[in-house]
Structure formats: structure tokens, C-alpha cells
Symmetry: D2
Amino acid sequence: MKYGITETVKTIKSKIKVKDIIYDIVEKKTNAIKYFLEGQEFNQTIVFGAYLCGNYMAHALLKDSDEVILVDVYPHLKDMIVSEKITFMDSNKFNLALRNGKLNPDLIVDITGIGGISPEILSKFNPEVLIVENPKCTYDKDIFEIDNSMDRLNTGKKRGLLNTFRSSKVSKTSGTMTLTIDTVLDSCAEIKELDGVLYALPNLKYYEGILFHEKDAKKFIGEVNAPAITVSCLDEYIIPEIDRILSKNMEKINSFVVKAK
Amino acid sequence: MKYGITETVKTIKSKIKVKDIIYDIVEKKTNAIKYFLEGQEFNQTIVFGAYLCGNYMAHALLKDSDEVILVDVYPHLKDMIVSEKITFMDSNKFNLALRNGKLNPDLIVDITGIGGISPEILSKFNPEVLIVENPKCTYDKDIFEIDNSMDRLNTGKKRGLLNTFRSSKVSKTSGTMTLTIDTVLDSCAEIKELDGVLYALPNLKYYEGILFHEKDAKKFIGEVNAPAITVSCLDEYIIPEIDRILSKNMEKINSFVVKAK
Amino acid sequence: MKYGITETVKTIKSKIKVKDIIYDIVEKKTNAIKYFLEGQEFNQTIVFGAYLCGNYMAHALLKDSDEVILVDVYPHLKDMIVSEKITFMDSNKFNLALRNGKLNPDLIVDITGIGGISPEILSKFNPEVLIVENPKCTYDKDIFEIDNSMDRLNTGKKRGLLNTFRSSKVSKTSGTMTLTIDTVLDSCAEIKELDGVLYALPNLKYYEGILFHEKDAKKFIGEVNAPAITVSCLDEYIIPEIDRILSKNMEKINSFVVKAK
Amino acid sequence: MKYGITETVKTIKSKIKVKDIIYDIVEKKTNAIKYFLEGQEFNQTIVFGAYLCGNYMAHALLKDSDEVILVDVYPHLKDMIVSEKITFMDSNKFNLALRNGKLNPDLIVDITGIGGISPEILSKFNPEVLIVENPKCTYDKDIFEIDNSMDRLNTGKKRGLLNTFRSSKVSKTSGTMTLTIDTVLDSCAEIKELDGVLYALPNLKYYEGILFHEKDAKKFIGEVNAPAITVSCLDEYIIPEIDRILSKNMEKINSFVVKAK
Ligand SMILES: Nc1ncnc2c1ncn2[C@@H]1O[C@H](CSCC[C@H](N)C(=O)O)[C@@H](O)[C@H]1O
Ligand SMILES: Nc1ncnc2c1ncn2[C@@H]1O[C@H](CSCC[C@H](N)C(=O)O)[C@@H](O)[C@H]1O
Ligand SMILES: Nc1ncnc2c1ncn2[C@@H]1O[C@H](CSCC[C@H](N)C(=O)O)[C@@H](O)[C@H]1O
Ligand SMILES: Nc1ncnc2c1ncn2[C@@H]1O[C@H](CSCC[C@H](N)C(=O)O)[C@@H](O)[C@H]1O
């Protein structure tokens, strides 16, 4: 806790950081996938899309798969990888490996979402399991129109659609960043209403830009390591309320895979 | 307009910057004061409180007063002053001038708000006009309890209470920063609902901390010179909608002085 | 609890009725007035305005005043009075009593609000205490413009402005009916978000019309004696939640008298 | 327009009635089905569920089908039928016809929703086209769990899931009544914020109870023939705004059939 402009007003930062919310979502999505896989083991797994949950998913799947390949069109996202056991492939490496017949995944996970991988590329494979992330959340005419996740579910013996929603709340996509932003903003609206709160400020940045335009993974990791909300208030009693409200909103995020035919 | 992660998604920043919203509010508060003064002219004006609107008000009152003194407990806020004609006084300079009988303001404007200047200090003066800013906005038990703006209106032939509210919206104080944050957040909530919008991100920082803790006025001015909102969306048609919605919310801010007995 | 269309869906009505919310507000307004009166006793009290809180206030003031007169422009509101000790006066009776010098109240309470009693009529009196209800709540340009409660506070040794607000919520007036409607609607929005709730339906009617157009006080009393909210849901667990949320919103209503000069 | 308690306040009722909103939704759902049918013609159509959209759908399908049968577990819903050409069957009649081999529908439409018809009964048939209404809308753990619309899509050459959503808004189910209630309540929240509005009152009743508990179809039809919203305000300028806002919210409702495998 710090003082604001005068000692009458306090400034309190949430204990929960932006990265905690991201991590909670990414963990939920990964658990949803694990649950769908029912302990099945694989020889070769390809995860399409490193950002934002793909990287964590790839690491988690090392337990279930001999080989894990993480594919992304942005080469610099290789910097996000922690384990050496993961093979990163940018577009060139991927196309080369594809042409050389090195790719015969029995598990494919596509989290590229809107504007991501095409159904045609996925149809080249014949996995045991194919999981495609549904980028749709609350209905939006344009977003529902441009989504083609069901078309991507065109191969594989077992097919699943990964859904992530917020209970009784509006989010325009199931993207990890979208859900993080909405969780923080909805929490701010609630915190603002507590007695003695002057304002609730979301500490959010255009993180996408840092990672994809500035291509600075290290800066991205540093920026999300900040308290999600800063509150200006009269009383310290609300200190636990801030994280309680944030946690309550984080709990509204549910992820599950629906089996598709 | 820029592209997001893929060319399917666009990233659009509002033309309206955080500083534009701040300026709009500060201008409204100053106009409210000018309207109340009805063209009256003064010899010596004291404005208590440089941040956030006090500084601009002091500059605007140069037209109505031979001498304008801006008083603030934070000496470094002197850096915010543009015109040489304004005399800045920190606590020491102020107390010295007070003891030496140099202060006999016929106009006093107090915008120090919650935890600001005490009624006792104001009662030492006998101005023609005294205007005190009401920091209260939407009802809040604790904020209403700690406010003593009516007690500060204890001197002066003509007394006015400066109110600033947002039509049909909740703001916990009339502070320029509070109103700015709430205007941006309410606009984000509205923009998010437009067709094709993935998320609406407020580009807000804990500006108070930059100015009062880091004591960096230059950095503060740089930070507020950023687009208020960044929107991730599918279509460029919403480009004018972003600023239209921001403007509509800015227009909800009304400032006026109520004559007190 | 009842079943909905099938046994899978339940229909639950709140225990809290519309009249309970009205009563809670009316009680708070009356307590605020009592607190301001500090146990002072009076010979003759005039309460202007029977609907919606005036009637209850008149009854409560029987303990503090030898004579209590309730004045209203609608003669049929006499039907709302329970105690014989209260003298009801419509416009004719009031003007007659005024002309005959029968009226010399030492306590006046005006709750007529927007478009109510004029400052001129109040200025005819010289009470020990005058309390005028402030109909304003959340800022609204038109409502703030038409309000003249401060002009009505033009007489009396001790003058007070009765304010009623909802903490951190928007209400356009402090009217008992307005606050009741807003409390129910805000509660519905919150209940709707509970797990398993299909919809939350407010059981509200245009009660004003029943009382002032149909002039049917009995029907009015019958209509407000209905559960405030009907909820369609899957699970009985939420039964206590409905009244808890309603109570929580009722607690946001605060009433207090501010001493005016 | 009428006056409120005094001539200063006006009472305005929306031109749009509750039944207009219901009709708009029912029309959209029916158009979605027609679009999916692509002008195909049928010998025998069975619509399961008369309330709230089933009845209108059955009438609309008379153009596409030689025979239209409307089945419902509540016999009294027969009263809702206008055209003699529709055959109404309650549970007994349906089971009898089923046993006697009279039922061989080539088009089946199931709008019974949550707790409605079982997958087993639908599996007895072998239609050209089967359309099942998805009662789910915004994510809710319990509602998503109890829904079995995908299990009902277990027969038919061409299978479609009828979805109805509100753009960027929260509705807990796609039920016609739920969407109607939410549309009215969201409109009230918006109208309340207009300048000069004192309150916006939704004129909603527990219509389900009237139709299913009181079993009074005539009363139901009478009750929904009322203005959706009553507004207390200072100025007539907002008269067109009320219906404009209602229409805007009605336009957020989108219905479409998704082809299922
Ligand atoms: N065709 C393609 N092949 C591989 N990666 C792709 C791709 N198109 C987009 N991507 C990558 O997929 C990611 C899209 S953003 C995906 C976000 C994810 N759904 C979440 O919720 O966290 C980016 O890393 C992008 O570079
Ligand atoms: N006793 C005092 N004398 C002078 N300045 C004071 C003071 N107490 C606080 N201040 C100053 O008053 C300001 C308080 S913040 C005021 C914000 C202003 N109401 C707005 O809406 O823009 C700060 O600059 C603070 O340093
Ligand atoms: N000039 C006048 N004299 C007496 N009663 C008046 C009046 N003008 C209006 N009224 C009455 O005052 C009431 C206005 S409605 C007041 C509602 C009250 N503020 C509440 O919150 O409950 C009505 O009963 C109306 O008939
Ligand atoms: N097993 C069954 N067979 C036939 N009708 C049934 C049924 N179970 C429920 N119903 C009927 O189906 C309706 C359920 S309410 C359905 C509402 C509809 N989805 C809408 O949005 O308008 C009721 O009329 C109910 O009586």
C-alpha cells in the first residue's frame, strides 16, 4: 500500500498480476485438452500457434508425446520456449519438414484462431486426435462469419473443439488475451463500487504490439508481470477485496473440449 | 490502423488521446469558474492545488487578475507552469508570504479536494470571491463523510462550490483523473459491443504515481500523450465509431459553480 | 417454489415484496428526518405531499408534534391515512385554513419534489424547522435544472435538505418509487448472472398510474404486495441468493438531512 | 403521452408492445428455419412444442408441407392454434398416432428446449430433415450441462441446430421469452440514461405462469398486448428515443440454423 497525492488517499495494487490471469486461462485450456486426451499417448504432436496458450500447451504435452513440435509463422516466438525437448518450426522449417515427409502427427492441436491455419493444411494430416480451438465466444455477426474452426475439424479419428467461455459475461473471443482484458475490466467496474474507492485503474497495455510488432518477448514477459489493477481509495479494508473480486471473475472462465463428429 | 497478429485482425488506436480528455475536463471546470466570475476583475488571485486542473485555471485567470499565485505542497509541480506571470509557491514560500502579509487575495480558488487545504487556512483570508471544488460525485458513504468542501466555504463575499458530474453515470469523485479514467472505461465497454470488435483496451497508467511518486512531470506529459483506447477488430468501418463513442462519453461531463450562502 | 413449463425448470419468487422495498426507503427517509430533529418537539407540523413517503412520515411525527397536518393536492390520498390524529387537507382545506390563520407550523416537511410546492407558499411560514426533500440524485442536466429545492429552503430557523442516494449506483431521482424500481432492476441484472438462472423477471407495474390516474389506493396497496422478482432457474440453491442480492441493493440506499444555512 | 403526478412530469409508454418483441423473435426463428429448408417440400411435418415459437412455425410450415402436426404435452395450448389445417396432438393423441404408424414425418422441428422431448423419441423417426433448437446462449455451467440438444440431433438425412443469440449481450437461454425479457430490461437501462428521464419501467409479467399454471391463453394474449416500457420523464423529446432504443436492442437478436453432421 502506498499513499496517493495526500495521506488521506491510499493507492493499492492488486496482488494478482496480469500474468497470473493469463496463466490461469492457459492452464484451464491445457487441462481441458488433457482431459479430452484421457491419458492417450502419442508419437508426434504438432501444436499450431505459440501465442498465447500454445507454448504452455506444447510444454505440457511433453508428458504425453515422444515428440512435440510447435509451429508458428512468427520465428521470434521461438524465444518463448523453455524446454529444449520442444522443436520450434517457423513457416519455412514447417514446409520443409512437410515436403520431406517428416511430419506424421498423431496429435494435432490448433490454437491459431481467427485468420490462423487453413483447413487445407490440416487436411493433409491424418492424426489420431485433432483439437481445434474455437475462437468464438459471445455472439457477434462478423466474428461468427469469419470463424472457420468447424471447417478445420476435417481430419482425425477423434476430433474436438476447444471452447473457452466466461459464465454469464460478454467476451467477443475465447482468446487468452481477450479473456484477460475482459476479466480485468469487469473486476475494475465491480471494485469501483466499493465504499471509499475513488477509482479502479486497469494496468493493461497493448501487449500484442510488444510481442508481434516490437518483436520483444522479454519486454512482453516483463510488462505482464505487473499488478492487474491499481485502486485509489480511502481505506485499507478493501485490500483483500480487490483480489477477491479479481479471483471471482477469473473463476468465471471455463474451458472444455466438445467432441465433434 | 495497423494489423494485429494476422492480417485478418486490425488494431486501431483512437485519435482522441488521454490528454484530450483531461484537457476537455480542465477546460470545462475553468469555463464554469469564469462563468461564475461574470467578468469580475481581481488584484490578487490564489489558486490552491496545481494538479490536475489548477495549473490550467491559474493560466486562464491571468486575464482576470493582475497577480496569480499557484500554491501546492509539492514543489516540483512548479515544472507544470508555462507562463512566467504565474507565481508558484510551495508550502514554505506560501507560509512566508502569509506571515509577511503579502497575501491578500480577492479571489481564491481551491481545487485541492479530498485531504487538501484546511478550512482554517482559508478562513484567514477575506476574498471578494471564494470558489471551492466539490470532490464528491456519485454517493459513497466514506467519500461523503471525509469531504469538507462546505466547511472550506467559510469566507468571502461571494462563495461558490464547483461541481463536476457525469450525466447518468457513476464516478466516485469529480477529480479530473477520476473522470478521465471512468470516461475511457465506459467508452471501452461500449466499443466492445460493436460488431467485429474482439476487444477494446484502455491505455491507462497510474499517472498520479509518475507525477507524485516519481516526481517526473515530463514523463507524465509524455504518458498522457497516448491514444486513449486501442481496439482489436475485424473491420475498419468502426474507426470513426471509436472516437464518436469517446466524444459522446466526454460530453456527459458537466461542470458548474453553485452559489453558496 | 414452483415448477416452470417442465419439471426441469423451477420458478422462484423473492420473499421480499415490492412494498418491503418501499417501506425500507420510507423508513430510512423518516429516520433521517428524526435524526435531524434531535428529539425536538413541536406544536404544529405540516407535511406537504402524502405520496409516497409523506404519509408514513406524518404518522411517525405524531410522536414529536401535538398536531400533524398532511397536505396534498389529490384529495383521494386521504385514504392512505391510518391514524385519526392526522389532519388531511386538500388544496381547498389548506387555502381556507391558511386564510383563517389556522396555520402556524413550527415544523414543515416538504416531500413534494419535482413540480411540487412553490417556494412562495413556503415563504409564507416561519417555522422553527423546515426540511425540504432534494429530488435530485445522479446528475442529469434537465432534472438539475428544473429542481428548485434550494429555493424552497427560504424560511425557518433551522433548515435541512433531505437527500437520499444509492451508493455507487445511478438513480435519476431520490423518489421512493424511482429508488424502488432501480433497486429491483439492478438486483435482476445481478441475479441473472447466477449459475443456472434462465431469467430474472421484475414484477413491477406503473403503480403511480394506479394511484393517481385510476385513483385506486386499495388496488395500489394490493399491487405492491407482490414478490419483487420472479426467477426461472434450474436449481433451488439460489433461493436464498435472490433475497440476499435484493437486500444488498436495498442497503445501498442512504438517506440523511444536510443542514443548510 | 400522459402526465405523471404533476404536470411537470410526463409518462410515456413505448409504442412497441411486448407482443411485438415476441413476434419479431418468432419471425426470425421461423425465417432461419425456412432458409435452412431451401424451399424443400414435405409430406408430413411434426413440430414438437407449441410455446412460444412452435405455434407460429407450424403455421408458417403449412406452405411447405402437406400435413403439419403440432405436438405439446399441455393440451390447452391447442387454443393458440389459428388455422384448422394444423393437427394438434397432446401426449395421448401423439402416442396413439405413433403406435398406429400414422407418424412418418419427413420434417421434424423440435423447439421444446430444456427438459423437453427426449433423444429416444426423436430417434424413432427417420426424417429428411431434423431441426432441433439449441436452448443455450451465453455460457452457464448448469445450463450447458443439462442441455442435450446435440443428443437429440441423432436422426435425419439433413440435421440442423437452430441457434438464436443476442449480439454482444448476455442472455442465459435462446428462449423467446428469455430474449424478450432481456431485450426489454437492457432497453430500460439505456433509456434511463437519457437526459430528463426519471425512471424507465419494464411492463413485464410472469407470462409463463398465466399460460401454463392458470392455463389461460386468452389472458396471456391480452397481457402481452401492452407497451413494453413506461417512462417517467420531463420532456417529450424522448418519445421517439424509447422505441428507437427498443428497436436497436431487438435488432441484436439473430437466429440461424447450423448444419450438423
Ligand atoms: N497459419 C499459421 N500457422 C502457424 N501459426 C499461426 C498461423 N497463423 C497464425 N499463427 C499464430 O497463431 C497465433 C494466433 S493468436 C492465438 C491465440 C490463442 N487462441 C489464445 O487464446 O491464446 C499467433 O502466435 C500466430 O502467429
Ligand atoms: N494543503 C494544500 N495546499 C496546497 N496544495 C495542496 C494541499 N493539499 C493538497 N494539495 C495539492 O492539491 C492537489 C490535489 S489533487 C486535486 C485534483 C483536482 N481536484 C482535479 O480534479 O484536477 C495536488 O496537486 C496536491 O499536491
Ligand atoms: N403543491 C403541492 N402541495 C401539496 N402536495 C403536492 C403539491 N404538489 C405535489 N404534491 C403532492 O406531492 C407528491 C409528489 S410525489 C413525491 C414523492 C416523494 N418525494 C417520495 O420520494 O416518496 C404527490 O402526492 C403530489 O400529489
Ligand atoms: N416432451 C415434449 N413433447 C412435446 N412438447 C413438449 C415436451 N416437453 C415440453 N414441451 C413443450 O415445449 C415447450 C417448451 S418451452 C419452449 C420455448 C421455445 N424454445 C421458444 O423459444 O419459444 C412448451 O410448450 C412445452 O409444453
